[in-house]
């Protein structure tokens, strides 16, 4: 079975972001960028499925500038077979390529590649939308298994997926092809070994554009501006449990 893994290049999760002075976006110059953490988990899952002999080929796709090749190479270094970059200079974090447009791009790729399964992150940590997988499943008319914490592929046409829901866990049986979005608990992504990073440079990479795929990247949501969230300043340190109880009862009046 061929699997398609969409990955996104985002500001590294450890970076303390800064809003541009004109409020039009987030400062991305000289900021460390990495693969979206949820997408690393999707890649790892695909590699594990390949190691089990269930998956035959892993195709990674990313939408973004030339630099987005880096996250595709990262996926290749842990085991993906080839990459597709849908090159665009439209911003991919905010105010540009939106989840709906990403879903349409992925549909066009699916139409060409005919994968048996799409595994992707449940959300990107920049835009925090948590939409693309569900939209893609809708557009394809495929089943969706979101927030997956366990994936068992039964056969070429069936899978069992355990999902994280608000009150606990839920298990679904879904027919393939399908879209699965992964949660943090699914697995622990591996690090790429240096020889594999070198080998990844030789793996095939195709570059396409939104025009090639017939997708329009003009946003439906206009980003009017960005605001700083309300600042919470540090309060006081208390010396003892008694002092804490006194503050909560008499000052904050919350107990």
């Amino acid at each position: 079975m061929k699997v398609l893994i969409p990955v996104k290049r985002v500001v590294d999760y450890n970076v303390k972001i800064r809003i541009k002075s004109d409020k039009s976006g987030i400062e991305l110059n000289n900021v460390k960028m990495s693969m979206n953490p949820f997408d690393e988990i999707a890649v790892e899952e695909a590699v594990r499925l390949k190691e089990k002999g269930i998956v035959s080929e892993i195709v990674v796709v990313s939408i973004g500038p030339d630099k987005a090749q880096d996250v595709i190479r990262t996926a290749m270094a842990v085991g993906a077979d080839r990459g597709i970059l849908v090159k665009t200079d439209v911003p991919t974090d905010l105010g540009g390529v939106e989840p709906l447009a990403v879903a349409k791009t992925l549909k066009a790729i699916i139409d060409k590649e005919q994968p048996g399964l799409v595994i992707m992150g449940k959300q990107s940590i920049d835009d925090d939308s948590n939409q693309t997988g569900q939209m893609l499943a809708a557009i394809m008319g495929w089943p969706q298994a979101t927030f997956a914490s366990e994936i068992i592929i039964d056969s070429e046409i069936s899978a069992h997926v355990t999902r994280e829901i608000d009150g606990g866990l839920e298990t679904l049986q879904i027919s393939l092809p399908a879209v699965m979005t992964v949660d943090l608990r699914l697995n622990e992504p591996r690090y790429a070994a240096l020889p594999n990073i070198m080998k990844a440079k030789q793996k095939p990479m195709e570059t396409l554009s939104a025009e090639d795929l017939g997708v329009d990247y003009s946003p439906r949501l206009k980003l009017v501006s960005l605001e700083e969230p309300p600042v919470r300043s540090a309060g006081i340190k208390v010396e003892s449990v008694d002092a804490l109880i006194d503050k909560l009862k008499n000052e904050a009046k919350v107990i």
């Binding site: 303390k16 939409q131 569900q134 994280e164 829901i165 608000d166 608990r185």
Partner: protein, 311 residues
């Protein structure tokens, strides 16, 4: 203009996330209809009709809707949505799973996790783990959005009764591609995490699942819900539905007590709108102290039992 709110409910109860969503809907001008979909839910529809501000309840009652699978429910909502200018669902795992599928069917760019309604077409939503607030204007004819519960007060359940209309679920085609197998819910007597007035959360510093008993002890004394950081969940101390943060639940209680939690960006994203934050941590440099109203630098194994004892 008319607004449709999609109800989240269990077999026998409307969830509080629905009530927050109704309040958000009432900030728009127009009648607010509430869609209740499921199987054998006359009691749920009755409850829904009591919610203050709801003009009409639309009940979709069909055995095919028993697990509210998005594959079955989304096409029904997409066909109903054409009568509305806005469709709202709670930004819970239920709403996040469902609404983007509706958006995909309608060719609409959904707005996730709305925290403020500025006007009929302009909304605020947090991005980058809550480190920036984006103000966005939608050009779509139907605005689809999920609502962050903690940003809107719950609507009262004392109005109505609003009329209940049986909706047409005939387009509910059997979707054979998805089959519900089982559900494993965490049993708890404590309040639901996102709606609790007090939350006591434990982190890696708690050390083990057994040690979490001191967190439970304090929570029970306060009538609080129990939360956890991702570190505590990953270490297996508690199950994942306790997780507070960017990838877990968002809470904004009156009082949030963080015990043995360092305060990573991803955790703060889930709790920094709490009214009062208390941090108990032995590391005086832990980032959690930068947002805590009251910090106690102490060994949690001494401080928490003492606090429980003295309350």
């Amino acid at each position: 203009m008319a607004i449709l709110v999609i109800s989240e409910h269990s077999a026998d109860q409307i969830k509080s996330s629905t009530l927050n969503c109704v309040t958000a809907a009432l900030k728009l001008s127009g009648d607010v209809d509430l869609l209740v979909a499921g199987s054998f839910l006359s009691g749920i529809a009755q409850q829904a009709s009591q919610i203050s501000g709801v003009s009409k309840v639309i009940a979709l009652d069909s055995p095919s809707l028993i697990h509210q699978l998005p594959e079955v429910l989304a096409p029904l909502i997409a066909s109903l949505a054409k009568n509305y200018t806005h469709v709202l669902a709670p930004a819970t795992n239920f709403g996040k799973n469902l609404l983007p599928r509706v958006a995909g069917l309608l060719d609409v760019q959904q707005i996730s996790d709305v925290i403020e309604i500025v006007s009929e077409d302009t909304f605020k939503r947090p991005v980058y783990a809550g480190n920036a607030i984006a103000i966005v204007t939608s050009s779509d004819a139907i605005k689809l959005m999920t609502i962050r519960a903690t940003s809107f007060d719950p609507a009262q359940v004392s109005g109505g009764p609003a009329p209940i209309e049986q909706g047409d679920h005939s387009p509910a085609q059997e979707f054979t591609g998805t089959k519900f197998i089982k559900e494993e819910l965490t049993k708890s007597e404590r309040p639901e995490l996102p709606a609790a007035k007090i939350v006591v959360s434990g982190g890696r510093g708690v050390g083990s699942g057994e040690n979490f008993s001191i967190i439970y002890g304090l929570a029970d004394k306060l009538g609080a819900a129990v939360g956890a950081s991702r570190a505590a969940v990953d270490a297996g101390y508690v199950s994942n539905d306790y997780q507070v943060g960017q990838t877990g639940k968002i809470v904004a209680p009156q009082l949030y007590i963080a015990v043995g939690i360092s305060g990573a960006i991803q955790h703060l994203a889930g709790m920094k709108d709490s009214k009062v934050i208390v941090a108990i941590n032995k590391d005086p440099d832990a980032p959690i102290f930068q947002v805590a109203d009251y910090g106690l630098v102490a060994d949690l194994f001494e401080a928490v039992p003492e606090l429980t004892e003295k309350l």
